[in-house]
């Protein structure tokens, strides 16, 4: 095991911890931006440090295609290659194959797919995935799992869960650098609590450095999503980091943290920036909207980032989706927002002010929603009057359901029952 995980503070199930990895001492909860091909959309590594990024995620599948993991290994690993002094995490490569390639086929041996380079059939086995990740050299590497869409039902879910358990043993066996790289196991089992429980027990038995909750954030309804997260965090060991894969909406991160998760990753903040959307305490601000054309305020007047200190919505509006600099500046702001959210979660848990933080987080959404109704298109004017009384229902109608908030509410009270 090449990490230390010390819980520094708790609030019920939520925890603030220090995660010491070979390349960086991180504070959790934390969000990991996705740098698919060894870079995060136009941002220089010193900017990422300035923003406060602690761990960057690299995609094994993409790196294996270009520049190849052999080359990265030969040149001293990904840290050296991209000149990133802090921590890195790589995924197994399996998810990309299943999600990006039509012709991927999963057998007991591994994932068979056609190479996008020359069309030849190729096979990614658990052993191969770990070998690639050993070559890349990230602080945290992920086991190859059998990924199925959460919207699929039936025996395929069960098959995938058991296969994931069989594959974890092959991954552990293939892992050549346990002293410098931490192999995380991934809990599968779809939305079925019984399957999830079997997988949880199996993974915990393997005593891995950390665990991920996989197979979520794939289009399932939010109530099911929270239940799985709550079940998994309740059963995973207290002294190991817990990573919810593919989660990146700020509200989801707050709720998962309340449920005791520690790490998150998603392309959302940088992808949405490229489409002209900024993350703000109220939710999102669409810079492409005509209302921004003459708005001389910063994206978020309360934000201390380089972009908000210097640029108006009007200026960003003129650049987004047109000029490279527009998406660079918005990506910078959005990642800054995510890092600040991570820091606020950590410090509020540490200082026993987690419920206050969560309430303020939700209230901010409500307040700004009502003040800038023209910009935030989710609400109809009839809701404004009721905003304060029924805020649980309207915080963000696109992503929040009453069930989640009940769950959140429960987790903020003593002795939650799950």
């Amino acid at each position: 095991m090449a990490l230390q995980f010390e819980v520094l503070g708790r609030f019920n199930r939520a925890r603030a911890a220090r995660l010491t990895l070979p390349h960086y001492q991180c504070q959790t909860p934390l969000f990991m931006p996705v740098g698919t091909q060894g870079t995060i959309k136009g941002l220089a590594t010193n900017q990422l440090e300035e923003i406060g990024c602690q761990i960057i995620l690299g995609n094994t599948y993409h790196l294996a295609l270009r520049p190849t993991t052999e080359l990265i290994d030969e040149l001293g690993g990904l840290h050296e290659f991209m000149n990133w002094p802090r921590a890195l995490l790589t995924d197994s490569g399996g998810f990309q194959m299943v999600s990006l390639l039509d012709l991927a086929e999963i057998t007991e041996e591994g994932v068979t797919f056609r190479s996008p380079v020359d069309g030849k059939p190729m096979l990614l086995t658990p052993e191969q995935s770990i070998r690639f990740q050993n070559q890349i050299g990230a602080d945290i590497i992920m086991a190859l799992d059998d990924v199925v869409k959460t919207t699929i039902t039936g025996p395929r879910i069960e098959e995938a869960m058991y296969r994931t358990l069989r594959w974890i043993d092959r991954c552990i066996k293939a892992h050549e650098k346990p002293d410098t790289q931490n192999l995380f196991g991934i809990v599968q089992g779809g939305l079925d609590p019984v399957l999830r429980d079997i997988c949880l027990r199996g993974m915990v038995d393997r005593d891995l450095p950390g665990y991920a909750i996989g197979g979520l954030a794939g289009g399932e309804d939010k109530d099911s999503f929270w239940r799985v997260v709550a079940q998994c965090t309740a059963s995973l060991p207290e002294d190991k980091p817990r990573y919810v894969m593919g989660v990146g909406y700020p509200l989801d991160i707050v709720v998962c943290s309340a449920l005791g998760a520690d790490m998150y990753d998603c392309v959302y903040p940088t992808r949405t920036a490229r489409f002209g959307t900024a993350l703000v305490p109220a939710g999102v601000l669409k810079l492409t909207h005509n209302a921004m054309a003459d708005d001389i305020r910063p994206i978020d007047p309360a934000c201390a980032c380089m972009v908000c200190k210097n640029y108006s919505r009007a200026y960003i509006h003129s650049m987004v989706t047109k000029d490279a600099m527009g998406s660079q500046l918005l990506s910078y702001h959005n990642l800054h927002y995510m890092m600040k959210l991570s820091r606020d979660l950590h410090s509020s848990i540490l200082h026993g002010k987690f419920p206050e933080f969560v309430c303020k987080f939700l209230q901010n959404m409500v307040l700004i929603f009502t003040l800038h109704i023209d910009v935030f298109c989710c609400l109809k004017s009839t809701h404004i009057h009721d905003a304060y009384d029924h805020r649980w229902d309207i915080v963000n109608p696109l992503t929040v359901t009453t069930g989640q908030l009940v769950l959140l509410d429960l987790s903020l009270h003593p002795a939650p029952r799950f």
Binding site: Q37, G38, T39, K41, G42, L43, A44, T45, N46, Q47, E50, H62, R66, P67, L71, E74, L75, G76, F81, M82, N83, A293, D294, I296, M306, K309, N310, Y311, S312, A314, Y315, H317, S318, M319, K322, D323, A324, M325, S327, Q328, L329, Y332
Partner: protein, 397 residues
């Protein structure tokens, strides 16, 4: 704006000092204007822009026509002008209608009312009064008057017309000149030395702070004719005012301009190198220049897309102190180019700008030391020698 010439080199070349608007630093000339898109460099974010040498990098060029895509002139005015818009308070800004990349004059559509430009948001006929309203809102330190630029292939009649219009528009621009800004009179005249002379003489009679020389870098170029035209223009201009030329960007072109007494250069050269995946690598000193022929270079630049850099863990230039060379390898930039990641352009624009600013610094030094002519001649000769040994299928051709 203040400008003083303080050194002349034997055989051409002058060095001076320029101070503009609220940019407190004195900018030494000959100087390079950094090209921008909406007043920020194309790919260098503002925090890294400050890592470039100061005050050398403090003069930015922009086209008011960039802002056809917004923000509106009123909004820019409310924000406090272009300097506040991009929050680069210690920088100087020069407004020039064309930008040599995305905003180019379309002389066939220009008429007596105004100059026509092709822009990313379509063709635009810019009239003098509209242009000056834009400038009043944007408040650049320096602006070039509206001109009717024509390429070398324009007929004599059309060329003559372009001079007439440009001089007429200059008077209209001067009449509407925003307070506190320095207007540079535009000089055109195509490839006709007599028309160039006529235009320069007319503009020299006007009350302007400096001169902008247009008509270059639009289509084909000729080294000899460029020098001749610049000579004719400069001969007819007063010594004490700065001369800015657009469209001369190659090292040889810059040296040719300096030799004729040009002080300020604005071109798309760095932008074109950067988007093409090239990095400048030429040493300024002659002695070093002979030794770098490795077959992958034309002696000026390298193509980082080339496979040979796949495993090259050295920086673009070991001796370079730019952010890119201090932090990244050729192998990494090669990878970023291969996977079409935007950071490649950011890193290349930083290096190329840094390197070219160094070239200008070196030019100023040799001018002050009185050995510009030697340097110029020797530079051209080694380049000629070099182009003979470079194979025809060179990746950098």
């Amino acid at each position: 704006m203040k400008f003083v010439v303080d050194a002349w080199s034997k055989g051409g070349g002058r060095a001076g000092v320029l101070q503009v608007g609220s940019c407190p630093a004195l900018i030494e000339t000959p100087a390079l204007l950094l090209s921008t898109r909406k007043a920020l460099p194309n790919f260098i974010p503002p925090d890294l822009l400050r890592s470039l040498p100061s005050p050398d990098s403090r003069l930015l060029q922009f086209s008011p026509l960039h802002f056809l895509e917004g923000p509106s002139a009123n909004t820019i005015s409310d924000i406090g002008g272009v300097r506040s818009l991009v929050s680069l308070h210690e920088f100087g800004f020069a407004a020039i209608p064309r930008d040599s990349t995305a905003i180019l004059p379309e002389f066939d559509c220009t008429n007596k009312l105004g100059a026509s430009f092709n822009t990313p948001s379509g063709r635009h006929l810019l009239k003098p009064a509209e242009y000056m309203r834009m400038l009043a809102a944007m408040k650049p330190d320096i602006w070039a008057s509206l001109s009717d630029e024509v390429p070398s292939r324009a007929t004599d009649k059309r060329n003559k017309l372009s001079v007439d219009r440009t001089v007429k528009w200059l008077d209209e621009c001067i009449a509407l000149s925003p307070p506190g800004t320095a207007g540079f009179g535009a000089i055109v005249g195509g490839w006709d030395a007599l028309e160039r002379q006529r235009c320069a003489q007319e503009v020299a009679k006007r009350n302007v702070s400096g001169y902008w020389i247009g008509g270059f870098g639009l289509e084909e170029t000729s080294d000899q004719i460029t020098s001749q035209l610049l000579r004719v223009v400069v001969e007819n201009l007063p010594e004490e005012k700065p001369r800015l030329v657009s469209g001369l960007g190659l090292p040889e072109e810059v040296l040719r301009g300096v030799a004729q007494g040009i002080d300020l250069f604005d071109s798309a050269y760095i932008h074109q190198l950067t988007t093409g995946g090239f990095a400048l690598t030429f040493p300024f000193e002659a002695a070093k220049r002979h030794s770098i022929s490795d077959g992958m270079s034309d002696g000026t630049k390298i193509n980082l897309r080339a496979d040979v850099y796949r495993k090259d863990t050295s920086p673009i230039m070991k001796s370079c102190h730019c952010y890119t060379c201090m932090n990244h390898t050729k192998a990494y930039i090669n990878h970023l180019l291969n996977v079409r990641e935007m950071l490649a352009q950011t890193l290349l624009e930083i290096h190329n700008t840094y390197h070219y600013l160094g070239f200008f610094q070196f030019i100023r030094r040799v001018v002050k030391e009185g050995r510009f002519q030697e340097f110029h001649q020797e530079f051209i000769e080694t380049r000629r020698g070099h182009s003979r040994v470079v194979p025809a299928d060179d990746v950098c051709a």
